[in-house]
């Protein structure tokens, strides 16, 4: 074979193996979540009854039920595929929910059905985490400081508000998902759901105060589709 043939053969082999190793190509649904109107004022939290937490803040933290970002974006919105894709097996890694400074971090934790969640107490005070499901089993667990993480899992998809029985201002959310196609918006409100095989999908955006909205999107190949969500803010 001549040198030219060898180079061409080599390049073809490389390209073919690159395509083979890339796996199934998929479509992408991406967009932005924003709000219109005036959101209610997020009040500061007075933690004076728990001095060990209160002293961790120079300015009091504010309520996180509505977190806005630049460009009228809405944060902590769970955007996920609610229909059109089969359920996924739970991943082996655990989702982590931390109690620190008498707050829940992150404010919204998304994970899959039967995926392990690890609840950590990083404070010097006891907490008693109490998720409030409607479909899943309800439980609450005390967690003194320095004790090992609590390990739990949920077997039904649901959005679950979470509170602390000892500290009334602590509030968070669990989003139990049926498949692995979900994302939580941060500053800017952008989301991307990738690796979607061709099909008809329903994309749902859920916010703890403003409810949920759904839109249908069809993917035919590996194109990128754009979908935006606009929530109406409530002043009170």
């Amino acid at each position: 074979m001549s040198m030219k043939h060898a180079i061409i053969a080599g390049l073809v082999t490389l390209t073919a193996s690159a395509v083979a190793l890339a796996g199934p190509a998929g479509g992408t649904i991406s967009g932005k979540v924003t709000y219109e109107g005036t959101p209610a004022k997020m009040k500061p939290i007075d933690m004076s009854k728990e001095p060990s937490c209160a002293k961790m803040y120079t300015t009091p933290p504010v309520v996180e039920t509505v977190v806005t970002g630049s460009g009228n974006s809405l944060q902590d919105v769970v955007v996920y595929i609610s229909a059109g894709i089969p359920d996924d097996a739970a991943p082996s890694n655990a989702a982590v929910f931390t109690q620190k400074g008498c707050r829940y971090i992150p404010h919204v934790l998304a994970f899959q059905v039967n995926q392990e969640i690890k609840i950590i107490n990083d404070d010097q005070t006891s907490h008693n985490i109490h998720p409030l499901p409607k479909l899943n089993r309800e439980w609450n667990k005390s967690q003194p400081p320095g004790t090992p993480p609590i390990s739990e899992k949920y077997d039904k998809a649901e959005f679950i508000p979470v509170k602390c029985n000892v500290h009334p201002w602590m509030h968070g959310n669990f989003a139990v998902m049926k498949n692995s196609h979900y994302v939580i918006t941060s500053d800017g409100g952008a989301f991307t759901l990738a690796n979607l095989p061709p099909g008809k999908y329903t994309v749902t955006a859920w916010h703890e105060s403003y409810g949920d909205q759904s839109q249908d999107v069809t993917i035919t190949g590996s194109e990128a589709k754009s979908v935006n969500f606009v929530f109406k803010a409530k002043p009170y």
């Binding site: 209610a40 009040k43 500061p44 939290i45 007075d46 933690m47 004076s48 009854k49 728990e50 309520v63 039920t65 005070t125 006891s126 008693n128 005390s142 508000p161 509170k163 029985n165 000892v166 500290h167 009334p168 201002w169 509030h171 105060s209 002043p235 009170y236």
Partner: protein
Amino acid sequence: MGKFFAITILLIAILSAIPIVMHTWEAPADISTHGHLIDEQMSETMAEAGISFLAAQLLLAFFIWQFSNRGTETKLKSFPGGAKALVIAALLVVGVEVLALGVFGVKAWADVYLTPPSANAMPIQVQAGQFAFYFRYPGPDGKFGPLHPERINEGSQEFFGLDKEHDVESRDDIVTAEMAIPVNKEIHLLMHAKDVGHSFFVRELRAQQDFVPGLDVSLHFTATKVGRYEIVCTQLCGLGHYNMKAYLDVLSNDDFDEWLKKQAANQ
């Protein structure tokens, strides 16, 4: 053996009385206009109970000393007058003591619980719930807006269930997690429980009041010294009862006005 026992009883009685008589453990500072009534009642009770206690222990020690290790031939002496006289004497002694305490205590009780607050007392609403106290000031309109328990949402700091959108009187209400009051001003607390039984206790104020779910309870007092004091829950209310407290700040009039303005800005 008996004599040793008698001495032991005497020693225990005297040694336990000494710290009480010497006021080894000072009562917490009295910052209330009615505090002295409570403290006097406490002293009277201690004195009466203390004297009875010492007398009883002394008698007991004496009888043990005198009559232990007696032979079987020595007859037991009986109380003069027999069993009936003994019972009557006991009833009279204990009865008079308890009655006296009750009579003297009635004035203290009436002053704290049976007199209404004065017309210009400052009203503050107190809500006790598992496991925190929250307070509400009426704001410039002087009126408390209506409560809607179904609207309570602690994650959004809506502890009382106010509807600021539809209830005009609620719009200027000030909800706080600490209670600040001006010094030397009569305060009228309007209290209710959100869930189970709780109790409001500030030891320096000598004020304590149980919350019974379903009842609106009231308490009034005047604080006389500026400072920061603890309000603790003194009625077992669940797994967080140990952690249930709030702070009472007694401030000068100017400091209180400033505090209230700052809190109003956070609503």
